[in-house]
Symmetry: C2
Subunit: 333 residues, 2 copies
């Protein structure tokens, strides 16, 4: 299973010119309300009404970051958009636009890339209306690679950094904890062949058995709108939960020079997965005491004087999360 296997018919990017491929892909991409000069010139020009803009960039590489046996083109476009949009929201900004660079093997059908474009459109439409793709690049590579850069507008808000948590603040989260990691676990234990390799033929059964968690892994739905709401409510610190609650909460504690104590009763029945599972793409934020929490935020702990992370008052030093540097073996693919 792979790119070419998923759609054997039709022109490949090795056969089409870049221009021909882009002519088919661009009409499917979402438009941005911020566009002043769109795709087709050397560069795009975007409105920055705030006089500042927020920018983040992230790559998704086949192997460490996704498997074609499990993710279709729409899934990949969706996830590449959603994870970047979440980083913009975590600053308190409203996502305005994306640029997308894709490197794909020559045998990739252009139709497969149209599916990727559809995923970008669906994600922007559902998660961040008004945000669209304003430019891109298409290259050939032996390794399928997505590089997305996202932009946001602060609308006059102060950007919410990781470093602003203060003793006495409430620790809150928006979005489910551990669900994406549970989905990845289900895929790696049940959607594999006898040798433990990803097996597309077993995907449907695993999706049917674990619809919510597999969907959280393959098509995450970050609470984008809660980012600006948190900033408006006075959030003192915020970040996108990408590497597991424990690791990310420790980052806020360290950047802010405080201790964070999480309440295990607020973290759901599977405490360990909630703490160490990566790719939640919820928002972790701290608010001054007494703040009426906005949107989907709920209290999960408190900020104290001190250093580091505690869970139920006891130091929690497990790393958790997913570090592709340490855990991906490039030779296994």
């Amino acid at each position: 299973m792979g790119i070419s296997g998923s759609d054997a018919a039709g022109t490949t990017i090795g056969e089409a010119s870049e221009r021909e491929a882009l002519r088919r892909i661009f009409p499917r991409l979402p438009e941005s309300d911020a566009t002043l000069v769109g795709p087709g010139d050397d560069a795009a020009v975007l409105a920055a009404p705030d006089g500042r803009f927020v920018v983040t960039t992230d790559m998704m590489v086949h192997g460490p970051d996704f498997r074609l046996a499990w993710s279709g083109p729409e899934d990949l476009g969706w996830k590449a958009a959603a994870t970047n949009l979440s980083d913009i929201a975590a600053m308190g900004a409203v996502p305005t636009a994306l640029v997308v660079a894709i490197a794909a093997p020559p045998e990739t059908p252009v139709a497969w890339l149209e599916g990727v474009a559809d995923g970008f459109r669906l994600a922007c439409t559902e998660l961040a209306p008004g945000c669209g793709v304003v430019g891109g690049d298409l290259s050939v590579s032996a390794t399928l690679t997505f590089a997305v850069t996202a932009f946001g507008d602060l609308g006059g808000r102060r950007p919410v950094l990781r470093s602003g948590a203060r003793p006495g603040d409430v620790v809150a989260v928006s979005g489910a904890l551990g669900r994406a990691a549970a989905g990845l676990h289900a895929l790696f234990t049940e959607a594999v062949d006898a040798a433990g390799e990803p097996d597309a033929s077993r995907l449907a059964a695993v999706v049917a058995a674990h619809p919510d968690t597999v969907s959280a892994q393959l098509r995450p739905r970050p609470p984008i709108g809660d980012g600006p709401l948190a900033a408006d409510a006075g959030a003192t610190a915020m970040l996108d939960l990408s590497d597991g609650l424990a690791l990310d909460a420790r980052r806020v504690a360290e950047a802010s020079g405080v201790a964070i104590d999480l309440d295990p009763a607020a973290l759901g029945p599977d405490l360990r997965t909630a703490l160490t599972g990566g790719e939640d793409h919820g928002l972790l934020a701290t608010f001054p005491p007494g703040t009426r929490l906005p949107g989907g935020f709920r209290t999960i702990g408190a900020v104290h004087e001190g250093r580091g992370l505690r869970v139920g008052g006891r130091p929690f030093d497990e790393r958790g999360g997913w570090d592709p540097y340490l855990e991906w073996d490039g030779r296994r693919g």
Copy 2:
């Protein structure tokens, strides 16, 4: 020859944590004058004093876009910066910042990536002072891949598009024509082994024999400052010469609905390479008749009523340039 061969000593990115790798790389990167919030948070925040910003993104993939046998880490950082800066300049904007995503094999030494960072710093310092790297991403991949997104500020200028050339305009270029292609030709004919594969052991001799052209290929020096100067002088159309003068001039003609006639006497002794050689990264612009050409621009032709490209009054339909879709064989590497 490859990444691991160039520096066998030291920690690799497969051994270091992402955090440890970034801690070594970031201090070497150039700083941006536009930075309001720099690296280390979910996203950066940049000043956009004009109320708009210009953005372009481009990937460089090992194989189709560069060879490790010929390019060292500083060369690659330099070229990834320079080619993106040139797209910003071609809109008439001043480059302000870059974000850089790199995917590299696990065996890549962190020291090698420090060299890449040095290349980014040298290029920004020399070509676009005040422009710096404000964020990035580091991933593991079997295929070494750079994805750079660049930003620029128009300072109140109207962006210069490809579509504004008018009959009667002067066609002008800033930067050498065909030199980078001549360098690539020298590498592919002289810096290869008996099987025609890139051979690092022959590089020094080829550089010594063809210093200007090989340098134009490996460390291009686009005339970044001439982009805003052209806009100020009233340029009606402009683009970055990346795919060969003939192909790029035809793009301006097509987007503008005009004919462009180039004067062969103005294109130097090797007319064919000047017309069809890619990766010049000079600026091609059109100016109203009588304009005093700014910076390094020199006249090479004129805009007429009609369609398409002519050279010395005769239609020129050769494609030229370099299309990795059509010309790169991924199986050969």
